[in-house]
């Protein structure tokens, strides 16, 4: 028990100094920018806030936030995703004042953002950038193959056994691109600075202008919109530890061509879930048992309040589902899953703002790959 501090404390009569344990507890609860600023308070505070165990604990305790983009290349903002969900001007805070020209946010992972800078001609990726918006560090990631191949970054994950941050790419095998050619997956480790090809080429993959969007769940990445998944009308699953692919049946919503968009989610109870979007309503399906592809159950049918007829994505919080669509500018609707009703609607953003549907947790953790190659975008 802490009986030793009393003797060492300097004699101060007005008010006493808090011990380092308590200062640590307080600093753990502050937003990242405050922690950075308060490194200027004293050497002791800087020592506390630069310790790796402090940085790891602080990152774990950050609230989950939703990212809002101010158009292409504009600022990125963050909205807290607690249950008092209330997307308005007061709660939005600036995450990053600007991104490089025409940069698309592809995926957040472990407090980092993966951004794609696209060229004009074939909507191909020109550059990939990884950035920590809190520490304002940037690095660019070389593409797996040079030349005029088509490449898409389709996953960003933390590889558990090595602790490395890795990117998963899909790249066309021949330079003509277009339809009917084969494509291969590549993995790039940010820490090791190496790219390697993964497994055999996927046969006859339709090449893609869409960016595959992955859901992290139980150490796996999942896609419904992926050149391979769409072809097979299945959910594509990537084990981030073994780095192998498998497939999983989607919920029985009818054909993929049945004017239904699917969007992968994770419920508050940690179950894999799919939002099936139809005109005027959204069905929420839950996979009751992750190891049983036949265990899909429809839990909710959400009737969209007019004028919203179609949503672009859904995010779940503890009690609510947040749905967003375009009508005619971005609008979000909150659905209470316990009460089974729409509780708040029409959270309107400025017309240049766009709710990305990406969720994010800040992290002040240091990564050597930023120091090896610091780059100003």
């Amino acid at each position: 028990m802490a009986a030793t501090e009393a003797e060492e404390a300097p004699v101060i009569t007005c008010h006493h100094q808090l011990n380092d344990d308590v200062v640590t507890e307080i600093l753990l609860r502050l937003p990242s920018t405050s922690v950075l600023r308060f490194r200027a308070v004293s050497r002791a505070w800087r020592a506390i806030t630069t310790r790796p165990d402090f940085l790891a604990a602080h990152a774990r305790l950050r609230p989950l936030e939703l990212i809002v983009a101010e158009g292409l290349g504009g600022a990125l903002h963050a909205v807290p995703l607690d249950d008092g969900l209330d997307v308005d001007a007061r709660t939005i805070r600036c995450l990053l004042p600007s991104t490089p020209r025409a940069a698309h946010l592809i995926a957040p992972c472990d407090g980092l953002l993966l951004l794609e800078v696209r060229g004009h001609a074939i909507n191909n990726v020109e550059r990939l950038l990884v950035c920590n918006p809190v520490t304002r560090q940037w690095t660019s990631v070389p593409l797996p193959r040079s030349g005029h191949t088509l490449t898409r970054a389709c996953g960003f994950y933390l590889h558990g056994p090595s602790g490395e941050h890795r990117l998963l790419f899909l790249t066309n095998d021949d330079e003509r691109g277009g339809m009917g050619t084969s494509a291969s997956h590549y993995v790039r480790s940010l820490e090791a600075g190496e790219t390697r090809m993964l497994g055999p080429a996927a046969a006859t993959v339709h090449m893609f202008t869409l960016t595959p969007r992955a859901l992290h769940h139980r150490g796996n990445l999942h896609w419904v919109e992926h050149p391979e998944a769409e072809e097979a009308q299945e959910i594509l699953v990537f084990d981030t530890v073994q780095e192998t692919f498998r497939r999983m049946p989607p919920p029985p919503v009818g054909s993929f061509y049945d004017a239904t968009d699917l969007f992968l989610l994770e419920t508050a109870q940690g179950m894999l879930s799919v939002a099936a979007m139809r005109w005027g309503c959204v069905d929420i399906w839950v996979m009751e048992d992750y190891n049983n592809g036949q265990s899909w159950t429809r839990r909710h049918r959400i009737d969209l309040p007019p004028p919203l007829r179609h949503v672009g994505w859904v995010v779940m919080t503890w009690q609510n589902a947040l749905l967003s669509g375009y009508s005619p500018s971005d609008v979000a609707v909150v659905y209470d899953m316990t009460e089974k009703k729409v509780v708040l609607k029409q959270m309107q953003l400025r017309c240049t703002d766009h709710l990305t549907g990406h969720v994010f947790r800040e992290s002040l953790q240091r990564h050597a790959f930023f120091d090896q190659q610091q780059e100003q975008p």
């Binding site: 008010h15 507890e25 200027a40």
Partner: protein, 186 residues
């Protein structure tokens, strides 16, 4: 647990009597005694729970030499108030850390509880909460202190926390340049 048969009968009786009591007596560094519900103390403080389970609670007042009477009064007051408040949905769900803020917002009565405290009393209470392993009270007091820190400059923080600046002018300027953006928004 196996009952220690070697112990005297008087000891046994005392232990039974103590186990039957539904309050525990705590003694502050300046010798004042406070009664607190045993159930609340065990539920809200990991240190007190350990002492109760380990039988190291003294009937005549368990010594808490690190905690002054004002802070201990607040601790006991908090435990008693907490024992009376119906556990809210917010507290129940706080054990599941998914998609929600890891620190639950203080409830209205908890906010009022810390708002009425003087600066010194708040600092004493946060140390007592930390010492006694009272996670929830630590959350509530730290939340209040972090609100006080919002938007403040390092100079202002030094004043609030009574900290001497031990950086040189050059070092401070270097930090300021390196982390420029952190100095104008929060």
């Amino acid at each position: 647990m196996e009952v220690d048969k070697g112990k005297g009968e008087a000891e046994e009786t005392r232990k039974v009597a103590e186990a039957d009591r539904d309050t525990v007596t705590l003694k502050s560094s300046d010798g004042k005694l406070f009664e607190v519900s045993k159930e609340a103390a065990a539920r809200l403080s990991t240190v007190l729970a350990g002492m109760i389970a380990g039988g190291s609670i003294d009937d005549n007042g368990t010594d808490l030499k690190q905690i002054g009477s004002e802070a201990l009064e607040n601790v006991v007051d908090y435990c008693n108030k907490h024992a009376n408040s119906i556990p809210s949905a917010a507290l129940i769900s706080s054990s599941i850390s998914f998609n929600t803020a890891p620190f639950k917002e203080p409830e209205e009565w908890e906010r009022k509880f810390v708002d009425r405290l003087s600066h010194d009393a708040l600092f004493d209470l946060v140390e007592a909460a930390n010492f006694l392993g009272m996670e929830r009270l630590l959350d509530v007091t730290c939340h209040k202190i972090s609100e006080m820190m919002k938007g403040k400059s390092p100079d202002q923080i030094r004043e609030v926390f009574n900290i001497k600046n031990d950086y040189t002018k050059e070092e401070l300027e270097e930090i300021r340049q390196e982390l420029a953006w952190a100095f104008y928004d929060d």
